[in-house]
Amino acid sequence: MDADGPGRDHPRGRVRSPGAPVTTTTRERAGSLFRRHGALLVLGALLVIGTLAFDSFTTPANLGNIATASSFLAIVAVGMTFVIISGGIDLSVGSLFVLGGVLAAYGSRYGVVVALLLPLVVCGVFGLVQGVIIARTRMAPFIVTLAGLLAARGLMLSLTDEGATTYLVEDDLFASIGQGAVLDVGYPFLVMLAILAVAVVFLQRTGFGQNVYAIGGNEDAAALMGVPVARTKIVVYLTSGLLAGLAGALNAARLSSGVTILGIGMELDVIAAVVIGGTLLTGGAGGLGGTIAGALLLGVIQNLINQIPGLSSSFQQVVSGAFLAAVVITHRVLGGVRDDDS
């Protein structure tokens, strides 16, 4: 990809004076490399460790499971990456994920088209409305999407008799989208890759993508530079809503039902995946490749923890927390630019 591609934030080297050659230290270069590809490196390291430590880790079936199971989180995280790069946050994705699944399962009785369109339309409208509120009223995205989280879950509960009704997927074609597999890797993973490819082009190679980075970097400046801030934000939240709904629908296809107990706290996992992937929560920098690596990383961690025999369920949580902390600390120490705050 292009070296000047967005998200490639360069080490903050120092120029001597205008025209002088750029000088970067090895450490800075390593740091920047780590920030961009840290998740991938950690992922690689964990795969090696897993292979060495556990026989049953590197089997095609196990890796295929991890890939397929992670793709839903990854799809949602793609949307979240747009949101976070634009300087926002979207807490509603977990609720939209479960809402999308319920709607897809319900819609499947009218065929595959409805099964896909219904969640996309409803979750898209949710994203759109949140985007409009955020862009037009300048309310904090955190709050608007927190309200969205509650509203979407409330809607889902009222559609399912407070969660008691589980709609079953009644369209085989639709179900096969979620259940088919090529060599142990499920279709959802392939869908995720396709979405990733499209998203990368949009984020890196279009004016829209540039605008997303610009408003995340400095919203006021972007507005003064003529970036259509409101429109960009609206599209960003719309995208996030759509992808959350789509991931929910795919998951419903995989599970053959609109399970109502999903998605609680999912937003935090999604945010963690994005952040581990090297996207800064402050906006303006980051990329999609890291996000996907981050999502896979979370799946691998869970799988590895399961491999350790005799670890009580509480200890597993401690280990996950410690692991998350270790990843972000490594990130920060190796990859972060120390801004010498004291």
């Binding site: 934030d9 205008p18 920098a285």
Partner: protein
Amino acid sequence: MLETDGVRKAFPGVTALDGVSFSLGTGEVHALVGENGAGKSTLIKVLTGVYRADAGQVRYRGEPVSFASPLDAQRAGIATIYQEVNLVPQMSVARNLFLGREPRGRFGLIDFAAMRERAGEVLRGYGIGSDVRRPLGSLGLGAQQMVALARAIEAHAQVVVMDEPTSSLQPREVDRLFRAIGDLRGQGRSVVYVSHRLEELYRICDRVTVLRDGRLVHTGPLAGLDRLRLISLMLGRDLDAVRSEGLTRFAERARSHAAPLLRATNLSRRHVLDEVSLAVRPGEIVGLGGLLGSGRSETAKAIAGALPLDSGGVSVAGEAVPPGSVGSAIRAGINLLPEDRKAEGIVATLSVRENIALAALPRLSRAGIVSEGDVDRVVDRFMRRLRIKAAGPGQPVGELSGGNQQKVLLARWLAMNPRVLLLDEPTRGIDVGAKAEVQVLIDELAEEGLAVLLISSDLEELVEGSQRVVVLRDGAVVGELSGADVTEEKIMAAIAGTTDD
């Protein structure tokens, strides 16, 4: 070309514009001047769709317009460089330059190779040769300002609005800018030019509009308007008063021979500073000269403990200051007025009062509890002394005009009873009246025995203010001038490296 008719704009507590009728002709360079807070930036923002006027009309090419956003204005052909550099620091230089009009390649996707190449070309024309892939934020403020300029001019706008474009530029860059403005005029494009540097106005502007307290007090050709008369219009004082006060601000002072109060020895940091040593005596003002990016700000920050060093040390009155800590530098009496007041200086959400008291809080408290009376006294004293123009001490500092923000920062440091003052561009963006006040103040402070290190891109200010000038290049000291040697020519020569080392 672009006119306003009776424009009004009020903010809570202040009327920033009060019935302003301004008109810009085709192919003219129009100066917009006035004291800090006169309403210049506000007028520009109304013209370019950032604010909507409360009353009155904006006309562009004879048609009434109401731009909903800067984007609208840009589409209509009005490009703007705002007072504070307003680009996206994390994005690369090239992407900042082309944001919104990126060169397209296949399938309408952005062609980054072409963009880089064009950016390199364009910027070299403005004297910026650094890698266009670097994040903009890693460039010095001056270079950033040049990028903003290039961006506006390259947008093929019919009207280019510049709000204090030269405040962070070096003389060489100013020349380049003026050539660009000349080209614009030649092509029949119009320029609105805001600056506090009067000599610049006389060099390039055709007409002038003077604002005072949100009202238009004068508009007309610049040629033939006497400089003192212009100042009296701005300040609203009569001509004689201005004449008698004069414009020279720094007093002549004998050279101090006392032992140095501040001594910095061999300050080094990889790629930034290289064995910088300097000393300032009590009562002395030492200038720090050098080109954009020569490391002046870094030197100041290093002395103030805000920049970790690889080696070297600082002492005040012979006592070593523990390195790498702003707190201990401040306890030793070293105070730094930073260069970038928006990012490093003001706390925009807090009031004028809180901003002034910020650093001095521990002294204005007893047992960790703020003594409000003391704070009020200090705030009141400095608001008066520096004539800070605000609705009151409770007004958020973010709402003040640039110059008044700078005064608030100065007040923050003066409230600390400093021994050493490091002033990084203290008069940048300050109007003539206030500038004189600040300079008089600096003088007074030196008189009181402070050691002052003055960084200024304004060579005139540097020459007039300093008893000695230390010249930096590439993070190293390349010369020191004192006494009669302190002249603009000699400094330029030292900067350029044509003198002996």
